[in-house]
Structures are given as C-alpha cells and as structure tokens.
Symmetry: C2
Subunit: 357 residues, 2 copies
C-alpha cells in the first residue's frame, strides 16, 4: 500500500515509459503498446498501488461519474429503500452516488443541489421536500439531467417516476365500503408542499364525494400523538352518536405507523370499532411485515420502493445518454394487501359463530 499519493508521472517514471502510454493503459487502449510494456505497466501499477485521480480525469473529460441523490430524510425507510435501489441499479456502471438529506427543508435542498452542481455531478435524483421548488424548476431548463423520485414539482418539465396516487385510494375505499364502513377519514401530514400527499388527499376527496359531502381529510403532525389521539377520539364520539362504523386511510408509512400506535394506546379494537389502512411504502419494513404485526395486521397499499429506484435510475441514465429525449412519466402500481384491520365482515362472522357455540 502506497504511503503517499502517486501521480501518473510517478508511475511513468517507475515504469520507464511516458505518461501517454500509462494513460493509454488506464483507458484500455492496449493497441498503442506492445504486450511486454502492457504487462510491465500492469505490474508496476499493482505493485505501487497507484490509483488514477478521478478528479483530474473529471476535469479533463467534463464528467464526474457522480450521481447526486437529494432526499427529504434518509431515515425514512421509504427514502433509504430508494437510495439502496438506486445504488443497486448503478452497480456495474462507473457511477457513484453522493447523497444529501435535507431534513425536509427547502433551503437545505437548494444548498445541497448547489453544492452538487459545483461538484459537477452528472445527474440528479431528487426526492423533493417542496413542490414549489423554483430553483429546481429553473435548473431543469439547463442541461443538467434531473429525475424526480415520487414527489413532483409544480409547473415544471421533468422526468419523473411515482407511485400511483389514485387507483389504490379507490381500491381501499371500495374495500372499506364493502366491509361496511360508512364514515371514512383520510389522515395525512401537511399536504401543502408535498405532491403525493396532496394528490392522495384529492383522490380521496374525489372518490368519497358520492357517499359523503363532509370534509374527511385530517391533517396531522406525525410527532404530535396527543393531537392524533384527539382526532381519533372525536371520530369515535361521532360513531357513538351516529352509529356509522368509522375507518381511517393514511397517506404514507409514517402516518400509518403513528396512527396505529395511537389506536393501540387508546385501546381501540380493530376491525370491530374502527378500521385502519393506508400506504405502506417502507421498503424493507414492508418486507419484514411490520404492518402484519401491529394490532394483528393492517391492510395496506404496498408499492415497491425498489422498483421506484430502479426506474428512476433507468430514466436518469437514459437522459444522460440522450439529453434531448422527451420527458417521461412512469407510474408504479401498488397492490392492496388486505389484512385483519379492515375485515369487518369476517370478524362479524366469527362473533356470530361464537354466540352460536
């Protein structure tokens, strides 16, 4: 192992050839040298532990082989799965990823993107924290390849891959109606700046309006358990007054988790007193079956985060290869997995059987 950094000149000197020949060797242009020099150079390079500087190569070639991945919060299992699948999709290429987690702050997001631009990244994958990110909208007009992951940005022209926000909501509602729930709510974190939340809430409103004219969207904060419990209690009080079975649909993995926690702490029994369901977009956690485990199983809409990352990466590499191609939108489907938390009919059946025994 080399003690200090060698340059191409050092290696050329060591091997007794010119920089040019070393460079040819590094770039697999073996036709420019004899077998014997080739072998000789190989040996010298291995023995010396020489690592060509990507920095210098980048400066020359004008591409860095770095993909910038900007995400809202790396600790969200959704985001971690996204990053992992991007890395997997990049295996076998020469690209590395540079990540920045913006803590859902627009300022940090812009800072991170500027820093990555300065690093001469070859492309950007963005899981934005704000759908009004002007900076990105403008940047998209330059020639820097950008693909949005799941969350869109208003009024911009982008490549984007996102999880279906409409059909799964319809499917959940159909299922809940069939099971006999009549008072259905949608819990989401603030949808103002996050397209997926807004789109899911809108799909919910659209689908529900034939059955219900009240506003059933509840905007919660996932770290304010008291507030969430208060919302749930209000729903249960209404149930007591009006007798319509209530159900809650949640916008994403975190909200679903937190609402489940609150229901448990309130001692509610599912599916008898209330139903719970929602998007479970937590990648490895979905695989581990957390929704299967809590409160005896929660019905979820379960998209493949890995597919998302794969498709995003495909799109980005395509655009890097062909900067002038038309922008594409790709939608990831998300099947409904029905579990105990919404199966009122079979619950009722079991209760009836117990009585008969």
């Amino acid at each position: 192992m080399a003690k200090s950094k060698l340059t191409i000149s050092d290696v050329a000197k060591l091997a007794g050839v010119s920089k040019t020949t070393i460079s040819h060797f590094l770039n697999d242009k073996f036709e420019f040298m004899s077998e014997s020099t080739q072998e000789h150079i190989r040996k010298v390079i291995i023995e010396s532990g020489y690592q060509p500087s990507k920095i210098a190569q980048s400066l020359k070639s004008q591409n860095s082989f770095i993909i910038g991945v900007i995400v809202s919060d790396i600790e969200s299992p959704f985001v971690a799965g996204l990053i992992k699948s991007v890395e997997r999709a990049l295996e076998g290429t020469n690209y590395l990823i540079m990540t920045a987690s913006t803590d859902n702050s627009l300022d940090k997001e812009i800072q991170a993107i500027e820093a990555m631009r300065a690093q001469q990244v070859d492309g950007l994958i963005i899981h934005t924290s704000n759908n009004e990110n002007n900076y990105v909208r403008e940047l998209a007009k330059s020639n820097l390849p950008i693909v949005l992951a799941d969350r869109s940005i208003k009024n911009g022209q982008f490549d984007i891959v996102y999880v279906d926000n409409v059909q799964p909501i319809q499917n959940v509602l159909d299922h809940l109606h069939e099971e006999g729930y009549e008072d259905i709510y949608f819990f989401t974190e603030d949808p103002e700046f996050v397209s997926t939340r807004a789109n899911r809430a809108e799909a919910f409103n659209e689908a529900i309006k034939a059955h219900d004219t009240d506003n059933k969207v509840r905007i919660i904060k996932s770290d304010d358990f008291d507030m969430i419990k208060a919302e749930i209690v209000e729903i249960m009080e209404r149930y007591v007054r009006e007798g319509k079975k209530p159900a809650i649909v949640c916008e994403g993995g975190l909200v679903l988790f937190v609402v489940a926690k609150c229901m448990r702490e309130l001692g509610l029994s599912l599916p008898a007193e209330i139903a719970l369901s929602g998007y479970d977009d937590w990648g490895v956690f979905s695989q581990l079956g957390w929704a299967d485990m809590l409160v005896d199983g929660i019905t979820t809409v379960t998209p493949s985060v890995y597919e998302l990352g794969q498709r995003v990466t495909d799109l980005l590499l395509t655009r890097i290869a062909n900067p002038m191609s038309d922008h594409e939108s790709v939608i990831i489907e998300a099947p409904l997995i029905i579990r105990n938390s919404t199966e009122l009919r079979s619950y009722n059946l079991k209760q009836a059987q117990k009585k008969n025994d």
Copy 2:
C-alpha cells in the same frame, strides 16, 4: 439560469477583469480589490449563475471536501441514523458525503473504498461488514484519515466510536435475574465477521457463566422465521420439562424485531411465559417507540445512534486537521429501558391481586 457551464475565464471576461481577481473574489480575499469591482463581480456572478468547479478546485488544492461513508446496509435504521447524524455534524462545514451501501459484502466494500479513494475523498467513515478487512487495515497505514463506526476491524490501528458492548449486557442479565428468569439465551446473527455481535456474545458468555454452564448463544438468520421459531419452541419445551423461566436477549434491532414477531406468531405471552429484551439501535425507530408498541413493550438497551454519528464525525475532522494525532476509541453508553416484556414480578403481583379480588 445558465444554459451551459461557465468557467472562471468566461466570468472574468464578462466582468472585464482577470481570472485572478475573480479567484480572489471566490475565496473571499476582498482586500485585493476595490469595493466597486467587488460589487460588480458579485453582480456578474449572480446574474450569470456561475458555479465554480469544485473539480478544478480540488485538483489544485489536493482536497475534495468529500467524506466517504461506507456502510453495510443503508436500509438498516441504525445505518440510516448514522448517515443522517454524520450529515448533521458536517453542516456548516464545506464537506459533502458520498455514500456506498455494500449489502454486507466484503468485495463490494473494497470496491466502494477503492472508488472513493479514486475520487480523492478527504476521509472515510466505515461501518464495515467484515472485521477481517485486510484492505482497510492496510489502508489505515497510509495517510488517508479513517474512522470506524461501531464495528471494529481486527488487529488494526484505527480511530473508532462504538456502542458499549459489555455493561449493557450485564445490566440486562442482572435485571432478568432479579425478575426471576433462570434460563437465559442470547440470539444473534452470525458473529463471525461482525465485531459487535461477537463482543456482545462474549460479554454474554462471560456474564452468564457464574449461573449457567451451557452454551446459550443461538446464531440465527433474521430472514429465516421458521428457524427462529424452532429455536424458541425448543426453549419453551425445555421450560415445560425443567420449569425454569426462559428469557431471550437479542444482539441488535433487527434480531429483536424479528424475534418479537416470531414470539407473537407463536402466541407466546410476555413476560409470563418468556422474557424478551435486547439492543434497540434503530435511531428514529427507537424514537417512534416501536419497542414500546410491539407485544406491549419490549425492554431494550437503547444507545443514541445520533451521538455515534456525531462523535465519529468529530473524530474524523480532528484527524483530517491533525493526521499525526494518536488513535482514539470512544464508547457510547446505552441505558436500559425496562418495559413490560421482562417485568415478571409486577406481572405476578397483578395476577395475585386478581385472584384476591
């Protein structure tokens, strides 16, 4: 927004000054120019959207302001928390991070490190997948700053920050004994190449040997639920035969989660039939209280992953600033949080009260 990339020469031409002056401006050396040129340059740069190339700066200055973060699996909440806290600790500096998730493969780990070396990273934070990583051990002898996060590498000289692997195990065992458990097991994934697992298993053996001479370490695979259930069933059979209350201590968040899941599926009741506890090193998930939620609360050893990331980053920055300083080892303490899953005495008390009623 610029359509194509501007260079310092372009900007110098636009501003009607020399490259030197622009360079001075970029490096805040305002003493070398008049107020008026300074203002003029500022305006030109903003209007043109010019971004100095870090690549060129790096080539010149011989440092990249990139920290490489090599981790075993970014989807582990422990690792995600580590990355997040490293990023936080780096806020306010000029450093960016480049991540690579190695899927617990030694080959990929070495590849990733080589790629990062080529990128001229200024330092490396490594959460290794293999404690016999020769490549890293040798690399540590070069002048590249390296700090290990939590997992150590045999026979190497490193800066390292890790979660205490001894005292918490002792604390858990003391607690379990006090509660009346007499047949205590340690569940871990294969400890052969992962120092934390090996160290915890060893601490367990050391602490238990006064009470129990059998080998109570069970090596499981976290994705093989059948195998885990079989182990648990065996333990319960022994309990039926011999009457000593069993307890399981788990090596990390994933094992704890999976074992909890299996116990639930087996219909075991905690703490009455068996106790469960272990390291909960899942950062944000610990905060969300998953261990509080499953099977009515699991007793956990709960280190702060954020502190780990913070300390690791501090150490790395210190070493970058002062390459010749002595290697440091920092230990993160981990308090024991006692929950329902091990509280046999209060459970028995309640049962007794019920009888009296």
